[in-house]
């Protein structure tokens, strides 16, 4: 059964059309990736999915509920969340406060102490820095907070927007490891990445995007075998 069903959505920024009739779906429990060049429209897709920007046409269904046009705070309440590009932390709040905001929603509020503990287990570094304000964290630390904050929402689907951006190799592995663990734990994951190598390795299914359109799809191995994809996205 598909948890997320996107059907022919388009998005415009003023006069510029950024997405053209995008359709795809994510089944429950899957790790689906979306790859594509800079400016292909990946971030735009994610924003449209969670209601941060309006769609011009098409529909988005989450778990059978029509979420098109729903404001973002309602969408996330349904159990779908985004770890945004550039982390977007609350800069003046401490690490711990940032995490606690994650449990703002009623449904997550009750078990927030437990979740917090779990997150500190996953990222011990955050526990060390729990009273430091987010703006003074290094890039990698910030990424950990962003992921932790999303987990605090107790979501069913997590969407990641380039989580490995600016991370040291060891952290990149770390992040991918976390993503895989979350996947194993039963979460549905929608991953947008530039780090195509790694992504194709972990993804169950993959969409390729170019100039606002989906131009290819398949399993990791399928795509890795595809010569044009290799050339365009794997480089070197």
């Amino acid at each position: 059964m598909n948890l997320l069903d996107v059907n022919g959505i388009s998005v415009n920024y003023g006069d510029i059309q950024a997405l053209w009739n995008i359709s795809f779906s994510v089944a429950k429990g899957q790790l689906v990736a979306l790859i594509g060049a800079n400016g292909a429209g990946k971030t735009t897709t994610l924003k449209a999915l969670c209601g941060l920007i309006p769609t011009a046409n098409g529909t988005i269904h989450y778990d059978g509920t029509q979420v098109t046009g729903m404001p973002v705070h309602k969408v996330v309440d349904l159990g779908i969340t985004l770890v945004p590009e550039g982390r977007q932390l609350f800069p003046k709040m401490t690490v711990e406060e940032n995490l606690l905001v994650g449990a703002y929603l009623k449904r997550a509020h009750g078990k927030r102490q437990q979740t917090l503990k779990r997150i500190y287990e996953i990222f011990p570094r955050l526990e060390e820095r729990r009273t430091q304000t987010a703006e003074t964290l290094s890039g990698g630390e910030q990424q950990m907070v962003a992921i932790g904050r999303a987990l605090m929402q107790d979501p069913q689907v997590i969407m990641f927007d380039e989580p490995s951006l600016g991370l040291a190799p060891i952290m990149v592995q770390e992040v991918f490891k976390v993503i895989q663990e979350l996947h194993k734990a039963g979460l549905t994951i929608f991953l947008v990445e530039q780090n195509v190598h790694q992504t194709l390795k972990v993804a169950d299914y993959c969409y390729v995007m170019e100039n606002g359109r989906i131009v290819g799809q398949g399993t990791g191995t399928d795509l890795e075998a595809d010569a044009s994809i290799r050339e365009a996205y794997l480089g070197f």
């Binding site: 920024y13 510029i16 950024a18 800079n38 400016g39 971030t43 924003k47 209601g51 941060l52 920007i53 309006p54 046009g69 729903m70 404001p71 973002v72 590009e85 550039g86 982390r87 977007q88 932390l89 800069p91 703006e135 951006l165 600016g166």
Partner: protein
């Protein structure tokens, strides 16, 4: 207005203003024009620090008042002739800017706005409390009520201010450097710009013409007191004119000054029974213009033209990777 057509229009307006008094002898109209021109000068001088440099000076009126009082004191107590006193008004304003700027220009955004406001209030209180300003009674200057003299003096002064500022801000590197400070002070440092210095220069550059205009005002109106010359009037009007006209340009504030002043004057002269309505309309006008023309009139007009120009296809922005918030269209519409 880079084109020669713009320059031509400007030249025609200037010429018209220069010969106007020769064909028209209405002293009231001359007075209104004199004041209108003064406001153009005040608005563009304000825009140097506010629009080009990004520091909203809510104490702009203090420079005006300092200029006015300098001329008043020098003429009435030191018995200096007007022409000697006038430049000293500019000097006094420059000194004030220097002393006030050292600490305040370290402040950012709202802090700067409010600190400068506090400073102007402090100067007003000072004028109320010392002897040589006449305290709350104010000060009367020798009446020299020659409308032509003041009209031409104002026209030439503001014309000169305009040219100097235009050269410095639009032609010379200085203006671009200020804009760099406005956009990102920290980043500008890496490019060899000394923000402290540039801000100070721009503050002083904004103060000098304001002080000189204050001096002319004092001699022209013949009476100055703390509440009228050191009050909020000049700052408030300058803000409104500049925002309405369009910040960070010279033509915008000039346009804003002309329109707001004209609106005000027409209301004042011919709809005098509706003064309170005037407040309501002015307030509403400001609020509405902020909503619908956030770039000001000039900014909006010029933008229109730019969009109409075909050769440049604007490239869409992508999200910055920083923590900075990028505005997103309203949810749900």
């Amino acid at each position: 207005m880079k084109t020669s057509r713009g320059a031509a229009i400007l030249a025609i307006i200037t010429a018209a203003l220069l010969i106007l008094p020769l064909v028209m002898h209405d002293t009231f109209v001359l007075r209104v024009l004199t004041e209108g021109i003064m406001w153009i000068g005040l608005a563009i001088a304000f825009d140097v620090i506010a629009g080009y440099t990004g520091y909203l000076n809510f104490g702009h009126g203090a420079f005006f008042g300092i200029g006015a009082y300098t001329i008043g004191i020098l003429m009435m107590q030191a018995h200096l002739p007007f022409w000697v006193a006038l430049p000293l008004g500019g000097v006094a304003a420059a000194l004030t800017a220097l002393i006030a700027g050292i600490p305040t220009l370290r402040l950012k955004g709202a802090y700067f706005a409010i600190a400068t406001w506090a400073l102007s209030r402090a100067i007003q209180q000072l004028a109320l409390n010392v002897e040589f300003t006449g305290g709350p009674d104010g000060m009367r200057l020798e009446a020299f009520l020659n409308p032509l003299f003041f009209y031409y003096l104002m026209l030439i002064t503001v014309g000169a201010i305009f040219l100097v500022l235009w050269y410095l801000l639009e032609r010379a590197p200085f203006g671009l450097k200020l804009k760099a400070i406005r956009e990102d002070e920290e980043g500008a440092k890496a490019l060899g710009l000394n923000p402290t210095m540039l801000k100070m220069q721009s503050f002083i550059l904004s103060a000098i013409p304001t002080g000189i205009l204050g001096g002319i005002y004092a001699y022209w109106i013949t009476f100055i007191d703390p509440s009228s010359t050191l009050g909020d009037l000049v700052s408030d009007q300058a803000v409104v004119m500049v925002v309405f006209g369009g910040m960070g340009t010279l033509f915008g504030p000039a346009l804003g000054a002309i329109l707001i002043f004209a609106f005000k004057t027409i209301f004042w002269a011919y709809l005098s029974d509706f003064q309170l309505l005037y407040l309501i309309i002015l307030g509403a006008l400001i609020a509405i213009s902020v909503i619908f023309i956030p770039n000001g009139l000039w900014g909006t007009l010029v933008k229109r033209k730019a969009v109409a120009r075909p050769q440049e296809k604007p490239e869409p922005a992508s999200e910055p990777a920083a923590l900075s918030a990028v505005a997103v269209p309203e949810e749900g519409n």
